[in-house]
């Protein structure tokens, strides 16, 4: 008998939850997957400037098929648009923005996050054939804040929030916040601190699905 009375957030709900925490005026880089969905969920009235590694600031929504500019793609190689106020620049300048701490935030997917903020999101074993890293290490190290969007558990039911990452690291001690389908968790000097759980979830249930100790915020 399943005693769960809660429903995990959908991908789009996770994205909307993240978007609600992004203030007006932030410069933000979105990774592929759920993070990309965040752009469509920015609350009315806020201007958030989205950055792409391949030299764009001010990315707008995806174009209708008839409006595609084949020269205008994002880092995920999807067609995008440029908002008024947007700009183009080359790769060294683009990564100067990332690595120089000019972006307020990046939102990344991850395989694992450790309680000290270590992130593993680019390789699943030491011996991957043809590993690929892209800009993940630069983003994790360089942006002012790193938020991770991921499911709380792997498909196999293993925790993704762990004491130590077992997958190859992307960066050390860099994640600030984790948004899962079940909770919002801050990475602090104390370790994982639960900021929010979905309706019906208990700390005990969440702890059972988490590979490191969960703390509650200090009063």
């Amino acid at each position: 008998m399943d005693t769960r009375i809660w429903t995990p957030l959908s991908r789009r709900e996770i994205a909307a939850r993240i978007a609600s925490d992004i203030p007006n005026g932030w410069y933000v880089n979105l990774g592929i997957g759920v993070p990309t969905l965040v752009a469509d969920e920015v609350p009315e009235g806020r201007e958030v400037v989205f950055h792409a590694e391949n030299g764009l600031l001010g990315i707008g929504p995806a174009p209708a098929d008839a409006d595609i500019d084949p020269w205008l793609i994002n880092a995920g190689k999807q067609y995008v648009t440029l908002r008024p106020g947007g700009s183009y620049f080359h790769h060294a300048d683009s990564f100067a923005m990332i690595r120089g701490g000019h972006l307020d935030l990046c939102v990344l997917g991850a395989y694992q996050v450790a309680e000290n903020g270590d992130i593993a999101n680019w390789a699943t074993s030491e011996n991957d054939t043809a590993p690929a890293v892209g800009g993940a290490m630069d983003l994790s190290v360089g942006t002012r804040r790193v938020w991770v969007a991921m499911n709380h558990l792997t498909r196999e039911g293993e925790p993704r929030l762990v004491r130590d990452c077992t997958y190859p690291l992307t960066a050390q001690a860099s994640v600030d916040r984790i948004y899962t389908d079940l909770a919002v968790i801050d990475v602090t000097a104390r370790g994982f601190v639960v900021a929010e759980m979905i309706a019906g979830m208990t700390l005990e249930q969440l702890q059972a699905m988490t590979g490191a100790t969960l703390h509650m915020p200090e009063a």
Binding site: N54, K77, H91, R99, V133, Q172
Partner: protein, 226 residues
Amino acid sequence: MIDKTVETVAEALSGVADGATFLLGGFGAVGQATHLIEGVLETGIRDLTVVANNAGYGQVGLARLLKEGRIRKLICSYPRIVGSTVFEELYRAGRIELELVPQGTLAERMRAAGAGVPAFYTPTGAGTRLAAGKEVRHFDGRDCVLEEALSGDVALIEAWKADRWGNLTYRAAGRNFNPVCAMAARMTIAQTQHLEPLGTLDPETIVTPGIFVDRVVHIEYGSPRL
């Protein structure tokens, strides 16, 4: 008179040699000097080192060079090819060497080569397997990795407009690695969609000044296809 324009791809590539290191601009399908890259195939040279963000796209350009076995080593951040498994097959078979570099480090290493910086420190990659064997040093309490400049013998880049001095502009996301590669190679060859009379490019809007460009070939091929 300075005239860097040449008539054909073959002329643009004259003098390229076995064992050369090529820097390729482009990101995804956009800003790829596909005609120049395929021209390398025609020259017959081999044993090449290629620096590029991706392992090409589709079945063209770099993907063809890989398939024909011309490339000894790839220096790359994301060695995947949409629509092709050729790199994966070569890699699994141990028939190509891969140096995996974080994308920003790749851009910065080429920029460093172009700017006369032999080496620099960066926190990117510290504590990961991509820093294995590299010197690490603390700055402001952070581990930083020493990264060396990455230069090339030849850069193959794509521009939107060019003039006979080799001044270049780009179009939208077609800029990407192209200006960086242009700075970092001993010889930079640009294929350009439009060739304009000298003095018609606004000096405020030239992205790559001609000092970084050696040869220009006019190839108006139209839009990239993903």
